[in-house]
């Protein structure tokens, strides 16, 4: 998951295969008033969704996030305001034509039960008059893209598929005519947690390849943090409480509403967004496997540390030389060793330390060579920094910020 972060700013560029990238979506003063309701469901929302990014709309139920999304393909007609996709004002164009250019995935999937999987995917290509062989080729290509064997599944009916498989077909169907924009309304909401996690990971890998502009609605902040290149946290009336990257939102929530919404443990979650490659590692004494006991004693005495990391001739971590062992004349290193790769996150390191019951983790590069260490205290420092930022923010805003009031 972490490896997709920050790498999706190149949207709009055609990547591999026939896939076209995404297009910018701009919402300008978008407003929806339902008759009989005083307050507008969406109140003059301005939002720019960059090409090729996943933007997650998240907020408490009733905040207007789904209404906002459904206005983009005009399943709900805006009362006022403008929707601009790829520079074209689509607020007044034929809604059916518009929807054929926008992939749409909903929580209940909504596959057509009387059609085979292939026919389900082929609906929009047929509407657009594609010829048979092109449709057949596209169906197979899409099934493979979402990880389903085309020969096995194209002739099946939706009822013969599991929930997770159905949602994959739902995504394939939305991608049928390679639309630049996809709207996804809690697509993984009705799927069991284990399958959901797998589908989310697959979805991120898929987006790496297709680079669509994706508007994703969820009420689950964890899902938003995991999937979003950017997150729009919405308060009642679809008012933007904060619109930023997950890292920024976790580190610097803009107001109390955001702080409350992301909930406790934000600082720990933010560790999951920090790569070991991005932080300054600790320095600890290192001895080589071939070094004598005396040399190890000298090193420990000089650095005033109680243990040194043993590395072999390729600088791979092998274990610990502890002052207590040396005092008893023992030369072998003891205890399990928490070893982590630089591409892993601080959260992974914390997990590994808790698992091994140790306080120092060894960090290695791609070849497994020792690069540096990470102490438990350092991790604690990182979280307290984040907590302090939160606390400072709370003190700096004794009166709740505007966006938080209504919620």
């Amino acid at each position: 998951m972490a490896d997709t972060k920050g790498s999706s700013t190149t949207g709009g560029a055609t990547t591999e295969g026939s896939a076209t990238g995404g297009e910018v979506i701009r919402l300008e003063g978008l407003t929806k008033r339902f008759s009989g309701h005083g307050e507008p469901a969406v109140d003059s929302l301005d939002l720019e969704i960059p090409a090729g990014e996943i933007v997650v709309l998240v907020g408490p139920s009733g905040c207007g996030k789904t209404t906002t999304m459904r206005m983009i393909n005009r399943l709900i007609e805006p009362t006022s305001g403008k929707i601009v996709i790829g520079g074209e004002d689509v607020t007044r164009i034929n809604p059916d034509q518009l929807r054929r250019r926008i992939g749409y995935v909903i929580q209940q999937v909504g596959l057509f039960p009387h059609m085979t999987i292939a026919d389900n995917i082929a609906v929009v290509p047929r509407l657009l008059g594609w010829d048979k062989s092109r449709i057949a080729g596209r169906v197979d290509e899409l099934l493979e893209l979402v990880g389903l064997d085309a020969a096995t599944y194209r002739g099946r009916f939706p009822k013969e598929l599991s929930g997770g498989q159905q949602q994959r077909v739902g995504v394939a169907r939305a991608l049928a005519v390679d639309p630049p924009v996809m709207l996804m309304d809690e697509p993984f909401g009705a799927i069991d947690p284990i399958t959901r996690d797998r589908l989310q990971n697959e979805f991120l890998r898929l987006q790496e390849r297709i680079r669509k502009t994706i508007v994703f609605v969820t009420h689950d902040i964890h899902e938003a943090i995991k999937l979003g290149d950017r997150i729009a946290i919405l308060a009642k009336g679809s008012r933007l409480a904060q619109y930023d990257t997950p890292e920024e939102i976790l580190a610097r929530p803009a107001n109390d509403f955001v702080t409350d919404f992301i909930g406790p443990g934000a600082s720990v979650r933010s560790l999951g967004l920090t790569n070991l490659a991005d932080i300054e590692l600790d320095t600890i004494p290192v001895v080589e496997l071939a070094d004598s006991v005396d040399k190890a004693k000298v090193v420990l005495a000089r650095t005033k540390q109680d243990r040194a990391l043993i590395v072999d001739e390729d600088r791979r971590p092998r274990g610990w030389r502890r002052a207590t062992d040396l005092a008893q004349g023992m030369s072998s290193g003891g205890g399990p060793l928490a070893t982590l790769h630089r591409s892993q996150t601080v959260h992974d390191a914390l997990n590994e330390l808790l698992r091994t019951g140790d306080t120092i983790a060894a960090i290695v590069d791609a070849e497994g060579r020792y690069e540096g260490a990470l102490r438990l205290e350092t991790i604690m420092g990182l979280t307290t920094q984040a907590e302090a930022a939160h606390a400072a923010l709370r003190e700096a805003r004794p009166v709740a910020a505007k966006a938080g009031d209504s919620a």
């Binding site: 393909n73 399943l75 809604p95 059916d96 034509q97 518009l98 929807r99 054929r100 250019r101 749409y104 909903i106 209940q108 999937v109 909504g110 596959l111 057509f112 039960p113 009387h114 059609m115 085979t116 609906v123 929009v124 509407l127 009916f157 939706p158 009822k159 739902g170 169907r173 939305a174 709207l183």
Partner: protein, 221 residues
């Protein structure tokens, strides 16, 4: 009294041509009536299903026809349509409407809203959604309505013979009943009753086949 011991079989074989003609007429008037009722019933269902009030009104009107005893309804049609084929078809259509309209509405309403939502979201227009998605999914339920109506209609068509001199096997039944005690009375009535029952069974079987061939494997139970 040699003829007294004549069996049903002997009676039937002696009148095989007349009986065959009666069966064909009977089956045919039901077919014509049901074709009209199906067209009218489904159209009416499509027209009203979106509005609760229109649906209730349509079902109430169709329901009234069913509450009129068939004898009375046939008799009421005589001043308008006279005797024979026309009043028979007209009455049968009126009787057949309710199950078809009711099941058309029920079938269309039974389609999962999520399916209609995704169809709309994919850019299918109103007519495309109806013809490609909603009607095919409602079809098994609509077909059940037509099937129920058909079987009922086969029976009511027999009554038409007695009241408006309609076509079909009804005349055997009425003739038999009016000559109770005479030589052929029982055989006549039996030919009529058994014939009507066989036609009903044949139509029922036909609908099983039609259902198989017109329902997608994806929505068969």
């Amino acid at each position: 009294m040699l003829v007294e011991s004549q069996s049903l079989y002997e009676y039937a074989s002696r009148h095989v041509e007349d009986i065959t003609a009666g069966v064909i007429q009977h089956a045919q008037v039901v077919f014509v009536s049901m074709s009209i009722a199906t067209a009218v019933g489904i159209s009416l269902g499509l027209l009203v299903y979106r509005s609760r009030r229109a649906t209730d009104l349509a079902l109430a009107v169709c329901g009234i026809f069913l509450t009129i005893p068939s004898f009375a309804l046939f008799a009421l049609l005589i001043p308008v349509l006279g005797l024979g084929y026309a009043p028979t078809v007209c009455a049968l259509v009126l009787y057949a409407l309710l199950p078809i309209v009711r099941n058309t509405v029920a079938g269309l309403e039974s389609v999962d809203p999520a399916i209609m939502e995704s169809a709309r979201g994919m850019g299918l227009g109103g007519r495309q959604r109806l013809w490609r998605i909603q009607l095919p999914l409602a079809w098994p339920i609509i077909l059940t309505g037509i099937r129920v109506s058909t079987v009922v209609t086969v029976g009511i068509a027999a009554i038409a013979a007695g009241v408006v001199n309609g076509p079909g096997l009804g005349e055997y039944i009425f003739s038999g009943l009016s000559h109770i005690g005479s030589v052929f009375a029982l055989n006549e009535a039996l030919v009529g009753v058994i014939g009507v029952a066989l036609i009903a069974l044949a139509y029922d079987g036909l609908f099983v086949l039609v259902g198989r061939f017109t329902t997608s494997r994806g929505i068969r139970g």
